[in-house]
């Protein structure tokens, strides 16, 4: 399955690139991301809650980045497995300076979605993936424009993250469960591929 799209982000390419490579930001902006733990240079283990409609669950997986040409492009590789199925994706991300401090982000993803989520949810996967990616970019843009804090505010104690995980210094945990925007396009919310697409973008 192929998914591609673009987004305009309000920041110069250098800032966008930096934000997209900052796990502290990513864990707060990737829809459904519970934890993101660095396991090596540009490599992370992630736990993401995702699904389509009733086919929902927790994915455990890995994300790593290659082919980084800062600040213009990188390739993100994500793979994960959980009760709803399996996801693996290669996402080519390109950043283009549009002037006036605006960056055009283009992504081109080739994803394999297996298990129940692939066979039963297929019809709406692309739509859900794009929607999730859109949510992610909106969250990243909010960080870039200063509308949202770039790092976690300590007062917002994690509600759904186990204490020991939240306490581990090298694990970036999500402060609160993501809430889908009111009147979202697709019932059932986010989905693993979109998350994978978004995971390192």
């Amino acid at each position: 399955m192929k998914v591609s799209g673009t987004a305009f982000l309000h920041g110069p390419v250098e800032s966008v690139y930096a934000v997209l490579n900052d796990p502290a930001v990513l864990v707060r902006t990737i829809p459904g991301c519970e934890t993101l733990e660095p396991v090596g240079p540009d490599a992370y283990q992630a736990t993401i809650t995702a699904g389509v409609a009733s086919i929902k669950g927790s994915f455990a997986g890995e994300v790593h980045l290659t082919d980084q040409k800062a600040p213009h492009s990188f390739v993100l590789h994500a793979s994960g497995a959980g009760a709803p199925g399996t996801v693996s994706a290669d996402v080519m991300v390109t950043l283009t300076d549009e002037g006036d401090g605006v960056t055009l982000l283009s992504y081109d993803a080739e994803a394999v979605v297996g298990g129940m989520i692939g066979g039963v949810g297929q019809r709406i996967l692309t739509g859900v993936a794009k929607k999730t990616a859109g949510e992610f970019f909106a969250a990243v843009d909010a960080v870039l424009t200063g509308a949202a804090p770039a790092v976690e505010v300590p007062a917002e104690a994690p509600a759904e993250v186990p204490a020991e995980v939240g306490a581990a210094p090298t694990i970036f945990s999500r402060p609160r469960p993501v809430t889908a925007p009111a009147g979202g396009l697709v019932p059932g919310g986010d989905f693993g591929l979109g998350v994978a697409v978004g995971a390192g973008i």
């Binding site: 399955m1 669950g57 497995a81 009760a83 199925g85 399996t86 693996s88 394999v112 979605v113 297996g114 298990g115 129940m116 692939g118 066979g119 039963v120 297929q122 019809r123």
Partner: protein
């Protein structure tokens, strides 16, 4: 009194439509354990690790099995059911995958728990680590063989067969006209309302196994299980309970679950059950249909075939447990009612990382009919001739029967048509659909801004393949008749038609006949229900067994009435002599079993001091057996060939390209009809699946071998609203090969579906349709390409 040939209502329906049917998942009780399976989410991957740690704490878990737990023959590869010399590289999977998985859905772990919910929860907690391998998906990729499904079969070719009669290529090259066509049929699948299922009980005290399976062959499954589990065959009984549809997929056996569930029952000493869910049916049972054909044909000015050369590629999925039966059927049945001139056919059967391919109703014939009938239409268009006329010129004539094509059929016997009146069939379909008046209708529709087209397609179907079926017929001392045959029932109405056969032969009311099928406790030797063979095979076996019973009854009655059997007839359950004597059949049944001990007034008549008889002869004569019962078998020389023709009128929406079937006509010749109502029902069901195969049903894999439409949200099956009213006419050309003169009818309705609807759409649109099924969006795209000059129009210049 006559009941054979009458359209009586189905005897099983009051039971089935009032909820009294007992299907696989109705069996068992609270103590029955449930199985569930961890299946591969990858099309091709190495299994690196199976971690069950997180699953072990689940309350209610009974057992987890992986390949390493399997022992003896259960750990062996699954059988190659139908070996064939052309299947040079057969490969089968295992009950549980040992190292490598080769399609999405392949079972890796079996979980047994106190109920299915718990078993599924356990499956969710088992972590399998995979190393993905490059998947081979699609016929072109398989043939290109950049990657292999099985490392030792580098070219992905499982089987390769060439059959040739005459020098087809030379005949084509020398012909005044030549055409080449590329004709594709996509993958589809049987979709029985009830999926597969297995329920097994093991009795440790006598080491016996009872297995219930939603199968199309209980007898063969019994032998396979006895072998796999190393249990004497007389300790294994297999019963097919009520089965909610099969359509071919359940003739495949033993499926992994059919071995594993009984095996687990023997290991655990507990009853174990598994009922397939719909998603499992999509990814773990079997598919069919996917083939790409290249047809080269040479013909004369009149459209007569001079040479036909067909090469096709068949996608057999990841394994070949059922052999190359489907492409063999295409290769032979493609010829339909025509004389091809010189004929050459060649196929390659290819491995792909997709689910296995085994017969689905029609079994290679819909593809063959599509290839042949599209060719007929192309010839007609090329020469500017009427499509029916071209067909007529190529038909085998009744006086040429039996007609030997010089090819070998799927049963290893000659492709010899036993009978049929093909010109009469074609004539009837033309009249039924109003072929010759269609131009007027088209003009009228055009003035209304409507776009309509007509098509027709013929077929011949080899039915009733051997090697044999048998039946046992017993008259009870109550006069009730019990019939048992070994092949299975999936809703066809066997309880009715076999009762009609027995009632007619024995001269008893049909209500007095009870039929049991697919229960090895009642009949142990059988082949199974497939290839439109039940009426031919078991129908004749029931007739032969009933004739034996009748002969015995007349012999005993003649002695009792002091006459000769030739003086006797059985009417309404009473044996009557021409002299006016009579004796009820139930009394004959009493007399047939000389007794020492009586248990009621009736049996008193058979005890030693009651019967007269000859004191100088034993009570049971040499060669005789007690009881008014008999077993007999029917084993045909070869298949008997049914035939027919379909015609359809379709309307395509000029704006949206929506496709609507306005009329659908069927002319059908399956020899002598046992029950016309049931034959009509078979045709209706077949046409519904034909419409599905033409316009809706397709199995879609992506490049990674993921099945994209594994649910009824996305795999479309026609509802009643999409199935047209079916107008039917019958011919009855009795088969000379069997006592009843019957031919099979089960698959006929589906065979020309894609061909006839493609022909009608083509006629409406004015450009060729080479690929089925077709959706409105695909038709819309073809229109766009046609307008852009990328898809050539028909020569006959249909102007929508």
């Amino acid at each position: 009194m006559k009941v054979f040939g009458e359209p009586i209502a189905r005897l099983e329906d009051p039971r089935l439509v009032s909820g009294q049917g007992r299907y696989l998942d109705d069996l068992g009780d609270q103590s029955t354990l449930a199985a569930a399976f961890v299946r591969s989410p990858h099309a091709h991957a190495r299994i690196v690790d199976v971690d069950v740690t997180a699953a072990l704490e689940v309350d209610g878990l009974v057992a987890i099995y992986t390949y390493d737990d399997l022992a003896g023959r259960v750990a062996d590869p699954l059988p190659v059911l139908i070996p064939h010399p052309a299947l040079h590289a057969p490969r089968t999977g295992y009950a549980l995958a040992p190292e490598v998985v080769r399609h999405v859905g392949e079972p890796i772990v079996m979980v047994v728990a106190t109920d299915r919910y718990i078993a599924e929860d356990v499956c969710d907690r088992i972590r399998v680590t995979y190393e993905p391998l490059p998947p081979v998906v699609g016929i072109d990729n398989a043939f290109r063989a950049e990657h292999a499904v099985h490392p030792e079969v580098a070219d992905n070719i499982a089987g390769h067969l060439v059959q040739e009669v005459g020098d087809a290529r030379r005949a084509i090259d020398a012909a005044p006209h030549r055409l080449e066509l590329h004709l594709h049929i996509e993958r589809s699948a049987s979709m029985p309302m009830e999926g597969r299922g297995v329920y097994a009980r093991w009795e440790p005290h006598d080491r016996s196994l009872r297995v219930y399976s939603s199968t199309q062959t209980s007898t063969s499954l019994r032998f396979a299980l006895a072998h796999k589990l190393n249990v004497p065959v007389d300790r294994v009984e297999v019963v097919a309970p009520d089965v909610g549809g099969g359509f071919g997929v359940k003739i495949m056996h033993p499926f992994p679950e059919e071995i594993l569930v009984p095996w687990a029952a023997t290991r655990l000493g507990r009853a174990v059950k598994w009922a397939e869910d719909r998603r499992e049916h999509f990814i773990s049972s079997a598919h069919e249909r996917g083939q790409r054909h290249t047809v080269r044909v040479g013909f004369d000015d009149e459209g007569r075939l001079l040479g036909l050369d067909v090469e096709f590629l068949h996608d057999n999925g990841a394994y070949t447990p059922y052999g190359v039966v489907v492409p063999i059927i295409t290769a032979t049945q493609l010829l339909g009612p025509y004389k091809p001139g010189a004929y050459r056919v060649e196929f390659h059967s290819l491995y792909t990382n997709t689910l296995i391919v085994t017969p689905y109703r029609g079994a290679g014939r819909p593809q063959g009919a599509f290839a042949m009938e599209r060719t007929m239409d192309a010839i007609a268009d090329h020469l500017g001739l009427d499509r029916a006329a071209v067909r007529e010129r190529n038909l085998i004539q009744p006086d040429e029967m039996p007609y030997d094509h010089g090819l070998m059929f799927q049963d290893g016997r000659g492709l010899v048509y036993d009978s049929g009146d093909f010109p009469a069939t074609l004539d009837k379909i033309r009249k039924l659909v109003g072929w010759d008046d269609f131009a007027t209708y088209r003009e009228q529709a055009r003035t209304e801004g409507r776009r309509v087209g007509i098509g027709l397609a013929c077929y011949v179907e080899g039915t009733g393949v051997g090697p044999y079926e048998g039946a046992h017929v017993r008259v009870e001392t109550t006069g009730h008749v019990h019939v048992a045959t070994g092949l299975t029932t999936q809703g066809q109405g066997h309880e009715t038609v076999f009762a009609q056969v027995a009632a007619e032969e024995l001269g008893v009311p049909v209500e007095d006949v009870t039929v049991v099928t697919g229960d090895t406790r009642r009949f142990k030797y059988a082949v199974g229900t497939f290839a439109s063979r039940a009426a031919v095979m078991s129908g004749n076996a029931v007739a032969l067994a009933a004739r034996k019973v009748r002969a015995k009854a007349l012999r005993i009655a003649a002695e009792a009435l002091s006459c000769t059997p030739g003086d006797l007839d059985i009417v309404d359950g009473v044996v009557r002599s021409s002299a006016g004597g009579e004796i009820p059949l139930k009394t004959v049944a009493v007399l047939a079993n000389p007794l020492r001990y009586a248990f009621d007034a009736e049996t008193t008549r058979a005890t030693q001091f009651a019967v007269g008889g000859h004191l100088d002869r034993p009570p049971i004569e040499p060669g005789e057996e007690p009881g008014l019962e008999a077993t007999d078998y029917y084993s045909p020389l070869r298949s008997t060939f049914a035939n027919g023709a379909h015609a359809a009128i379709v309307e395509t929406d000029p704006e949206t390209a929506d496709i609507r079937i306005l009329r659908y006509c069927v002319v059908h010749d399956c020899g002598t009809l046992i029950n016309p109502r049931i034959v009509d029902g078979q045709i209706h069901g077949g046409v519904a699946q034909g419409v599905g195969g033409a316009l809706y049903e397709r199995i879609v894999y992506d490049d990674h071998g993921q099945l994209l439409n594994a649910s009824y949200m996305d795999f479309l099956i026609p509802y009643a609203s999409e199935v047209p009213k079916i107008e039917t006419d019958h011919l009855e050309t009795p088969s000379p090969l069997n006592p009843l003169g019957v031919k099979g009818a089960g698959e006929a309705g589906v065979i020309p579906g894609a061909a006839v609807i493609a022909a009608a759409i083509e006629d409406a649109e004015g450009f060729r349709i080479d690929k089925m099924p077709i959706s409105p969006s695909e038709l819309w795209e073809l229109r766009r390409r046609h307008e852009a000059g990328e898809v050539p129009g028909l020569k006959r210049g249909v102007r929508p």
